[in-house]
Symmetry: none
Subunit: 160 residues, 2 copies
Amino acid sequence: MASADFILGEFNRKIDERFRLSIPTELAEPLCENSTDLILVKERPGCLSLWNSTHWKAKLDAGVNLVKAKINAGRLEGRTADVQMLGRLLSTRHRNVQLAAKQRMLIPEGFREFLGVEAGGEVLIVGAAICVEIWRTDAWLANLEQQMPEFGGLLDTLSS
Amino acid sequence: MASADFILGEFNRKIDERFRLSIPTELAEPLCENSTDLILVKERPGCLSLWNSTHWKAKLDAGVNLVKAKINAGRLEGRTADVQMLGRLLSTRHRNVQLAAKQRMLIPEGFREFLGVEAGGEVLIVGAAICVEIWRTDAWLANLEQQMPEFGGLLDTLSS
DNA sequence: TACTTAGTGGGCTCAAATCCCACGACTCGA
DNA sequence: TCGAGTCGTGGGATTTGAGCCCACTAAGTA
């Protein structure tokens, strides 16, 4: 990964009548270092994340290759169901999207329901260091309430 | 930290119809030693704090840079979710602001609700030794009531 | 009193965010 | 096969808000 800076910042945005969302320049720029190709991922109900596609591929391939190696080595014989589920998730969890002019992207069918925001609704766009997250407002608040107290400890753990 | 003096003093200020707030000269001067760049932080509901950006960076960057270094070294591969959470919290907790002419700053969207003061409302600006705090009046009073009795003991502990 | 300085209000401008419309591809049913 | 409706895409028009600047006022000072 480039020794890039963390992607940080918090913004309010409205979703179009046609489910388009414009990403603020501060976040779009570091995200699209080399291409306007992005990966949209279902994180949890009420939250999607956006990744630079090359970073994402690197991250994903590493994991997938490990699993493949294990399968080939016969080390997942008894775990067929788990492997199936992994495949299923790989299929549905993420998708390529493009940033069009004005940094606009279309939130595809399937991701709309997951995000849970109707056309014309509001979302929060948040920099999450290595990616950008799109939050339904109430999910964001609930999550924040829960995690804010952990902040100090988290920095300690990760940096130690 | 520079062997600067403590930043002290208490002032009433009005927040503009446009959410502008002018920082008293006594507090703004020591805060802006070298630049008009400041960091605005969400401390607790009803209270924001303002930091000299170089001091703040020193305080935070130490930890953050460690995390960055670990990421670049590939040592947090399995901890993506934690890194994301850290970034998310970094994004929402603080933001750069600038002091314009007359030491006026704009309280950004997101911090307004947190402070809980509507346009045209009153706040207290308080020097807190190493930073400046902006308080909603009632939050300030509640806090004061609770902490005042501890003052004597605190001075003893910190100075001994 | 005249002058200076700090705090506040408000006008102007520019850029960004949002609104809105038009076009073309595609689907579906008659 | 054709027309109507839907959806993705592009781009112009409008609005909103942040930054800049100036004017007014009140308080402190010579």
